[in-house]
């Protein structure tokens, strides 16, 4: 069978109460679009068997594939599996392999194997199982090839749902889609989505294969280039042609990588490649920069230490920011930022020092320096720079100010590494 269209049903009273934002649906939708599977409707229902059964029945009437997320947990109000099995007239049977995996996980995580956990090993007979490497509830596909219908059950927690969909569900679904799809993502920093769109509008409107889809994510813009064709080689060729065109536009110089992952991934990769070490002195980001660098496995190769310098006395003592600078220009200033960057580089004997100092809010803003005023600095051998940021002109949340500030620190370090590389090239040539 070929899947022509899908629907997502998100199950969970917490969604209807607004306690949780439905990020699973957005994630799965992006992936379905990349698979070329159309989607015309999504539904959210609570942990209620009757209403879930009604919604599932309606969705099956409209779509070939219905993906349900949530309600696979161990507690009594988790009834997605039971409801789907009932509707498809499948009895629940213990899947020994899944039971073994759950027991192993219980031992590993040192939690007590309750009857509720055992319930998670019950599978509608004849189902296809998607192993859960990040939790106890397995993913399940109830297949009805006669009617040409598939019901896919996925766990709700994004930490389980996203990797399972990406690693287990997508390879499964590809059997039911035609042709090959190849996707590449251009990672862009420092240019807004609408600016990117206005620069690339002509190219976007003209692009049918590959398609070109921009989306803004955590203050960055990603451009997804997706080509479809008979084989991978053809798709890759189509993608690279379009990617070259994009590089030739004004957008080009804001691209920091292709399929580069996050800024921190790209930074750690480049630090390792150049055998450089980094340290951060963080005021307004309070550890966010170091946290993001150390998100990356292998970051111990490039970071020995880092410091949060919230109080001025700490800035003075550890990064030896001069008292004069603090008094004359204030802690939130270009001068303080660069002294912090130099100081922390010295403190840990790093090749690159980055710094952040600013007003994260919601309080602490002044007419001269409103919330969102942040200075981000970098100091490296032969390269120093400070960026002055005005994030959200007073309207941005504390989290947003801190995240964007950290992103700029990471990007500024990448910029320094690029400059160092070019200098050494020039030096060699």
């Amino acid at each position: 069978m070929l899947i022509s269209s899908a629907e997502i049903i998100s199950v969970g009273t917490e969604l209807l109460l607004g306690d949780v934002v439905n990020t699973d649906a957005a994630f799965i939708s992006r992936r379905l679009a990349a698979l070329g599977i159309a989607q015309y409707r999504q539904t959210v229902v609570g942990d209620n068997a009757g209403r879930l059964e009604a919604a599932l029945g309606e969705a099956l009437g409209r779509a070939d594939l219905v993906i349900l997320t949530g309600g696979l947990g161990p507690t009594y109000d988790d009834l997605t599996k039971e409801t789907a099995a009932k509707l498809m007239k499948r009895s629940l049977v213990v899947d020994e392999r899944t039971l073994g995996r759950i027991e192993a996980r219980a031992r590993a995580f040192g939690f007590e194997m309750t009857e509720n956990n055992k319930k998670q090993a019950l599978i509608p007979e004849g189902s296809f199982i998607l192993d859960n490497d990040n939790g106890t509830a397995p993913g399940i596909v109830i297949e009805d090839f006669e009617k040409g219908k598939l019901i896919m059950l996925l766990p709700g927690p994004p930490s389980e749902c996203e990797p399972m969909f990406h690693e287990k569900a997508e390879p499964y679904l590809r059997r039911f889609t035609s042709g090959v799809l190849v996707s590449h993502t251009l990672n862009i920093f420092g240019l807004g989505e609408s600016k990117v769109e206005s620069i690339l509008r002509e190219i976007m409107l003209a692009s049918e294969n590959p398609t070109l889809a921009p989306y803004a994510k955590d203050g960055e813009v990603q451009l997804r280039v997706t080509a479809s064709g008979i084989d991978t080689a053809e798709c890759e060729r189509l993608c690279s042609e379009l990617i070259e065109r994009i590089y030739s536009t004004e957008v080009g110089k804001y691209i920091y990588g292709i399929d580069a992952g996050t800024l921190e991934d790209a930074l750690v990769r480049e630090l390792i490649a150049q055998k450089k070490r980094i340290a951060a002195a963080e005021s307004c980001t309070g550890g966010y920069v170091a946290k993001r660098i150390t998100n990356v496995s292998g970051s111990s190769e490039v970071l020995d230490g880092s410091i949060v310098t919230y109080a001025n006395r700490v800035k003075e003592r550890f990064c030896n920011v001069s008292r004069e600078t603090l008094q004359k220009y204030g802690a939130v200033s270009r001068q303080t930022a660069i002294e912090m960057a130099r100081g922390v580089r010295e403190l840990f004997g790093a090749d690159i020092g980055v710094s952040t100092t600013g007003i994260a809010g919601p309080t602490g803003g002044t007419p001269e320096k409103p919330v969102g005023t942040v200075f981000v600095g970098v100091s490296a051998d032969g390269f120093e720079e400070v960026r002055e940021l005005h994030i959200g002109n007073g309207l941005a949340s504390r989290e947003k100010v801190r995240y964007i500030s950290a992103s700029n620190a990471l990007h500024l370090a990448l910029t320094a590494l690029a400059a160092i590389k070019n200098n050494s090239k020039e030096f060699l040539s």
Copy 2:
């Protein structure tokens, strides 16, 4: 009329493509819950008149109030208003006051008043208007008191939707609600969801008012107690009775707060209350503890500085962990953890020092110390403790190991503060 239940229909192809996360639905849902308006289903449809009309018709069959967000923009694919008007058999008429407001906004923001903007001043005749103070599209309520149905149209952008709902829609909706709903959340750390549920199962099944709903969030468990009644006092009384019962169970000692928010919120609040300062020495969490503490506005009152001590030489130099300890027990050990906690407390002159040292993975594990082996320490005046964690035994992601480790550091600091408080009480008594 009284509104017994509502549904939300989110309109926008960008939602079905996953380019946008549906935060409007979560926001409105939280507010509806606070208003005591039940919600049993949510729907997302694209910018397609036929499918929108079908979804709206179905929703009106189930609920008294249907809230639609999105599709009120000026462009051709915005057709929510036209579709709703058609279904309710209302013709569109120009609302002069709204037209005036749009013209005024165009002047204020210096954009050209297009025919499309004028289209935004068209209102289904006899509708109630919710002024838009943050954009051009007004909110609209199509009222049918005979059938007891309300259709509310809201703009999609959260910057317009959220303030409009809060400031304009809620006062309007209060006319159609009776009674009150009061909700409290018990914050639990150190006990899994299925364990909580198995302990409280009897109470949960017996509880109809207040209701008791558990859910797991970021490695914590939250228990939501929701009571309905004629007034707040009655609801509060019902809630506190149930909360007392829960405290009397085995779950009680794992509750770290009521409506406490996150662990970091609770910690910063308690630090401020006790006028104490904290500092962290972080190895495997690499800044995550400091980052989470400084998530909280006002944390500058309780944190002067913090340090990431990834390399051993940094642990020695800044937290003066003895070389003997590092050689004899290794960096990932109970002894190193406590020396780090003592050392960082000294380094920044803090009242409480916390530390983390462990193997975050995916690499670096050994048979004796597999990935997920973490020691978390705390040192305070008269209170020291080290927790040995075994997170996932190689199965947990790096992010999970780091997050759970940071959570334990925050929780250990709360434990220390509680001990200090009790000691001083005993001392006084």
